[in-house]
Symmetry: C2
Subunit: 440 residues, 2 copies
Amino acid sequence: MQEAGSRGADERAPLKVALLGCGTVGSQVYRLLTEQSADLRARAGAPLEIAGVAVQAPDRPRHVPVDPQLLTTDGMALVTRPDVDIVIELIGGIEPARSLLLAALSAGKSVVTANKALVAADRAVLHKTARQAGADLYYEAAVAGAIPLLRALRESLAGDEVRRVLGIVNGTTNFILDRMDASGADFSAALAEAQALGYAEADPTADVAGFDAASKAAILASIAFHTEVTADDVYREGILSVTAADIASARAMGCVVKLLAICERSNGGISARVHPAMIPRTHPLAAVREAYNAVFVEAESAGRLMFYGAGAGGQPTASAVLGDTVAIARNLLAGLRGPDSSTYAQLPLVPIGEARTSYYVQLDVVDRPGVLAPVADAFAQQGVSIKAVRQEGRGEDANLIIMTHSAREAALAKTVAVLGAMEAVRNVDSVMRVEALEDE
Amino acid sequence: MQEAGSRGADERAPLKVALLGCGTVGSQVYRLLTEQSADLRARAGAPLEIAGVAVQAPDRPRHVPVDPQLLTTDGMALVTRPDVDIVIELIGGIEPARSLLLAALSAGKSVVTANKALVAADRAVLHKTARQAGADLYYEAAVAGAIPLLRALRESLAGDEVRRVLGIVNGTTNFILDRMDASGADFSAALAEAQALGYAEADPTADVAGFDAASKAAILASIAFHTEVTADDVYREGILSVTAADIASARAMGCVVKLLAICERSNGGISARVHPAMIPRTHPLAAVREAYNAVFVEAESAGRLMFYGAGAGGQPTASAVLGDTVAIARNLLAGLRGPDSSTYAQLPLVPIGEARTSYYVQLDVVDRPGVLAPVADAFAQQGVSIKAVRQEGRGEDANLIIMTHSAREAALAKTVAVLGAMEAVRNVDSVMRVEALEDE
C-alpha cells in the first residue's frame, strides 16, 4: 500500500489558501483542510496550506480550534497577499464579500465561494473579473449544499439540452411544509418547530419569503440555459400564505405542497420562478422530507435526472467547498483555468404572466343549483381549460374545487379576478399552481 | 440575442471526432453531433466535426441517416488518422475495442467510451497509455448512463471521504425485481416481460448474473476510494435465485429486494460486491422503479447523496458521451488535460468472507416445542447476533424467520451450514443480505 501523496505531491510547493469567515461552514473547512491534509495533498497534487483566516472578532469562541497566529481582521490585506493562491469566501451577503472577492480575483487569486446572494446578484462581473485576471471562480456550495449539481449542469450536460429544472433548494421551507403535511400544523407552529430545531433563523424572512430560493434559481437558470439571470429576474412568492387547508386540499388530491425553484424553457425564452406548488405524491420530489434538498432535471437526451442530498449545514457545505478547492488546485498545478461561464444563448426571460402551468382553485360558493355554469364560463372566457371539478360540502360550507389544464398565468389571474367579483362566489379560498403533472 | 457561437468559436478550426460503432447509442451520438452542432460549437469552443464512423456492416440500415461517405469498416485506420482529435468508442466488449482505444490513445487521441466491461477490466492500462501520450480518457456513460456520477465522485467529492456507495446500476435486473415485487410474478415470468419490452436481451446472462453490475461496481470503487479495482475483484451474485417467496418475505418485513452494487470502506480496506439484498422500503433506493438507476453515496462530510436517472438507452447514454466530448474539446482548446485517475490510496480489497452486513434467514423447521433454542445456539456459536425472530405457520409449514445484526459473511455462512445439518431444520429456504438498515 502506497503512502498518500506518493505520486510526487510532496515535492510541489504548497498552495496557500485564504479563508474568509470562520463560522459554521468556515470552521468545518478549516478542520478538514487540517485533518485531511494528506488525502487532500494527494488529490490536489500539492499540499493545501492555510495562509490566514479573516474574521470579525478574533477572540470569539470557534466550533474548532483555530491557530491564533492565522487569524486576522483585515480580509482585504489577506486576499491580496502575494503568497495567497486560493481565496475561500464563507462570509455570505453582498458586502464586504463582493469587494473582497473582486479584489482577490483582480489580483489573480482563484476563488471558491458558497455565497448564493452574491453570485446571484453579481455573477457576470465576478466571472468577467476572473477571466481578465486568468483566475478560477467556483461556487458549487452556493446551490443545494453538498449536492454536486452545478458541475453536473455545466459539464456533464454540456452536450445536452436542459428543458426544465425543478428544485427543492431551501431546507428551511421544506422542513416547514413537511411538518405541516405530516402533522397538520399551521405555518406558524411549523415555523416555531423549525426555529427550535435550528432549521430556521430567528428572522426567517430570507427563507420563508423565497429570497434564498430565488438566488439559487437565478444561478441554476444561468447555468442550465447559458443565459445571465440575476435574482431580481426571478419571480418570487414565499410560503407565508400557505395554509393548513391548502396542505389538506393537496393531500386530498394525492399531492404535496413544496416550495419549488422552477427554471424552464418557455415560448422561446426561459421562465425562472419560485413559489409554492402542489406536486403529485408519486413524483420523486414529493418524497424529499425534512430539510433535505433535491433537484429534478429534465433534459432532451438524458431524460429525467434527480440529485438529492443535504442542502445546508457546515459539513455538507464544506464538502462542496473542498471539492471546488481541489479542482482549482489541480488547475493551478496544470497551469490552466476551469470552465468559464457560458452565456452564449442569452435567452429572453418570459414575464410571469406568460408562464404556463396548471392551477388548483378553491371557491366558497353559495349553495344553489346552477352555480357551476357561470363559474365554468369565467374560466372559458379567459381560455383556461378545466380538467376536473369537485363540489364539496353543502349550505354555508359549499366549496367548488377546480383543477385546470396548463394555462397562462395572466389568464388564470384574470379568471380569479372575475370569479372574485361574481355574486355566486362568496370567496376565492385558495389558488395554487400545480406542477410536474405527468400529462401536462 | 446573440447567435450561438458568437464568442469566436467559428474562427477556431474544427475538432475532428471519430465514431466507433453506430448502433443504439452511436446513432444517437451521430444525430446530436449533427443536429446540435451550433450549440455544441458554442459550448465546446470550436466546431465538432465527424471525421468518420467505423462500423462492421456499412450497408446495414441505421436508426438515423448517416452520410455514407463517413462510413468505414477500418476502425484502426480511422482512429490513427492524423486529423482525428477525439475518438468515441461505442462498440462495447473487450476486443476489438481495447486494441482500437490503445492505438488511439498511443497516437495522442483523446477518448470517450461507454464501455464498462473494458474500463472495468483495463482501466489502469488505458489511463497509463493516455497519460503517457498526453491524451484525455473519459467514461461517464460507462456507469449509470446519463447520471453524472463519475464526475461527481471524482471532482465534487474530491475534498471529502466517501464511506459507501450503494447503487442500482443495472436497469434490466431492477425492472425484473420491480415486476416481481409489483405483481408477485416469479423470476422467469418477469424476465419474459422484460424481454418482450426490450429491457432484457435474448441472452440476459450479463445482466441477470450480475456481470454488468460488477463492472460498474469496479469502476465506482476505483474512483470513490482512489484504488485500482477490476471486475474480477468484485464478489458477484446475480438474481437468478431470487424467488417470489423471497420478494414476499421482504415485503412482509417492510423491505424490497434490489440488486445492489456495494462499495464500502471495511476494516481498513474496501469491500466491493454485487448481490441481491433486502433494503427498507423507506430508503430512497427502494423507490427506484422499473429500469431506472440510482446511486446512493455516503460521504464523511457531504452526508447522504443520491443520484437518480435513466441508466441506459441510446439517448441518455449519448447525453453522457457528449458531455465528456465537450469536456475534452474544452481541454484540447485550452491545451490541457482533464483529471487523471487517482489511485494513490491503493486500499486492500476485503474478501467477501470478511464483509459485514445483516442477514435474513428463513428456515423450514419441524413443528415441535424447543426448536428455537438449538437454532439460536447455532447463531451464537459463530458470534452472529440475532436481532429478531418470527415463527410462521404450523405443522408441515412451520417456518422460522431470523434477522441478524451486522455480522461477518464467513460467520453467517458457517451458521447456515450448521443449520442445514440440524435434525430440527428440514431446509434452509432462504438466506438474503439486508443492507442500508438505519441502525447498523
